[in-house]
Symmetry: C2
């Protein structure tokens, strides 16, 4: 019997509150198959770690440290924004990867990322055929944008959704208290450049028992100032206040980002602003209402302190499933979430071919958005609710979450050559 | 024995994650003294409710509903920004208050607010002398700004501090993951127009076990672009990334708010922006680093989901103490927090005269800020740590905090006259 091959694991693209839970799923499960999988080497800063032969030896992390990844946000091994071209376009990169993989006896490639990364993973999965290097490539889904196809939902999204819904409810309670003599309009800017999934979650702040006037601005619906202002006016008249959840990706009818207003400071320097102040200033100009605005930015995707339990469980389960697929001999696949039922919420793990996943973006279905374009339908609520359910608090020390930092010890280099990115 | 007098309770100024815990303390405790205190009437939208004779009958709320106030953020009865002038300047308002108090047999005045409100409360406390209306006025401290004098700290602050420290730690983990190929600088804007207490809390994200490069920009320290940029450069060189916590109140050497950059949009309209994008753009201009920025705004002061247990306990205890002071016959006082020891943290309730509280702002002591002006000292850490300690999670339903909304039924009006504000 030959020695088991080692595995390579890397985190890719924007990180999330639960991507490390997937890492824990991969590493802990791999440790359960010593006859099949040797060590798990993590790429330092994602795929760049493979190209530069900068590998982290996860076998030197204690069982306890790896377990803590389950409740630690961000990418424990570092991530990167770096997309491989095709083998035809940049053969040099693939040859380098093979050189590194061969030097470290790597036979498994686990890539934890979103749409672009699924594409990279797919390219790696073809190395056996195209460049005769035997490797199994499995993609572990992750993206707060929730825009991967086939899988019912994506790890990372449920926790952002919960954070945005909770924050919108809390801030709305605040505005409601102040509206009589002060702020009447609260605007919160959320992520999602192309798909409005996160913005939709803002509408979940309101429900039957706790109705809240909320206007959602989706990237899927071209912005119409007149209609928007009419909405704001109507809500303030009826409720005394309104909360506006605006996606960073909202565009005007010509497809230009609303955030891109050509702002200049007193010295004429161009300023990169957010879309929240743009929308808030429109309200001020057209209606004169006092406003407040917030930009959640990284806080939303890093908010492990209020992660969704569903999300954490699924992130871990997908990491685990990726290893199980590898052990079964699979290649060019991605474990996915299949929804069995809504009430009670039941789900199971399935698998999708990477050829069907790569470079496909899943937008909000039109029937998830109300006809007027400013809110979500019950169909959307039924979809979102279970993804946000359950709390999974991290342990605290001195008033703060006790997140782990790994030792991240490097594997000794075996190659003499460097690689320029 | 005469009938017990009724009590008036109102929330004032910006609301917090725990001001309703103080309300619960007042109402529950008052219910324990039926021989001394009749009903507790809350002002709808603060003192305006008293002027307009718009009173809420809290006796019509169930015991369970009042108990839920302990974990519900915002002002359950509505707040307002409205400062009474002196009796000499606006006698009409005081005469109206007396008219309303007399009509509803009100003998106790509990005012839950910050510095301005302490001043209002102090003026009310003098009504017995100045206008011969017998009333006991007790101020219940509340302010996220933590700038009231005499009391060791202010309810509302500990929870904001915890939220900002947690969020800064989480976002910093995120930036650290991305820094190799993407974002190197994260800027978070926090509240505190005059005092840097909340900004200081951002520095708590870093501690001995989890060191994080953080630069704090305090309103107490005039902004020096050159020194700031040098700090950013040094931190990025050493750690690969840096987080910047900037107070909304930061000014330049001439005392002008940094946020006020005279921004205009493409149409020449003045735009009200935040200070976070201003600082982030400076980094971009001077160093070329990729940045992200967030503005926490109302999210920070409404974030009951991650409130500090110390804060919740103290907010409740101060509401309770206010009623106990009233029952003892006190007037023109404010219950305060007295710190007994740091390790272990011990505190007790005391009382301060309102004449010493009103219109005094407590700034960060200079020895709480490091010499270079960009961080906090150990003395400051020892002060802040216990205030952020402990979690006190609200109950959840359908993935969201199950906050209470009271019925807020109006007391029948007895006066025929209206009052114009």
């Amino acid at each position: 019997m030959s020695n088991p091959k080692n595995a390579f694991y890397a985190q890719s693209g924007g990180v999330t509150a639960v991507i490390n839970a997937s890492a824990a799923g991969v590493i802990e499960t791999a440790r359960n198959y010593p006859a099949k999988i040797g060590k798990v080497y993590a790429g330092r800063n994602g795929i760049i770690g493979a190209l530069k032969e900068d590998l982290i030896d996860t076998s030197r992390e204690s069982r306890a440290a790896i377990a803590k990844l389950r409740y630690t946000p961000s990418g424990a091994f570092g991530s990167c924004r770096y997309k491989l071209k095709s083998v035809e376009e940049n053969r040099r990169e693939y040859e380098r990867l093979i050189e590194v993989f061969a030097a470290h006896d790597i036979g498994y490639f686990f890539y934890n990322g979103g749409g672009d990364s699924a594409d990279t993973c797919h390219k790696i999965s073809q190395l056996s055929k195209k460049l005769k290097y035997p490797i199994q490539a499995i993609h572990v889904p992750k993206t707060v944008d929730n825009d991967l196809p086939i899988t019912d939902n994506c790890p990372g999204f449920g926790s952002v959704a919960k954070y945005i819904a909770v924050s919108t409810r809390e801030a709305s309670f605040d505005v409601a208290s102040m509206a009589e003599t002060s702020t009447k309009v609260f605007v919160i800017e959320v992520m999602g450049r192309h798909a409005g999934w996160i913005a939709a979650a803002g509408a979940m702040a309101s429900d039957e028992k706790t109705p809240i006037p909320i206007i959602v601005l989706f990237p899927e619906i071209p912005f119409d100032r007149k209609k928007f202002i009419a909405q704001v006016k109507a809500k303030v008249r009826e409720f005394g206040y309104v909360s506006v959840v605006v996606s960073e990706g909202v565009t005007d009818k010509k497809g230009r980002f609303l955030a891109d207003q050509g702002l200049v400071d007193a010295f004429g320097h161009a300023q990169l602003g957010g879309v929240a102040p743009v929308v808030a200033n429109m309200v001020k100009q057209d209606l004169g209402y006092k406003f407040h605005w917030a930009v959640a930015d990284y806080m939303q995707r890093a908010a492990r302190h209020i992660a969704s339990k569903t999300d954490v469980d699924q992130a871990y389960a997908l990491g685990k499933a990726a290893v199980q697929l590898a052990v079964k001999g699979e290649n060019a696949v991605m474990p996915i979430i299949i929804r069995i039922s809504n009430k009670p919420y039941k789900w199971k793990i399935g698998a999708a071919k990477l050829s069907k996943v790569a470079n496909v973006e899943k937008m909000m279905p039109r029937n998830f958005i109300t006809k007027d374009g400013f809110s979500i339908t019950n169909k959307c609520r039924d979809y979102l609710l279970p993804l946000m359910k359950g709390e999974d608090y991290p342990p605290y020390k001195n008033g703060l979450p006790d997140y782990v930092r790994l030792k991240n010890l490097a594997v000794k280099k075996k190659l003499k050559s460097d690689f320029k990115l």
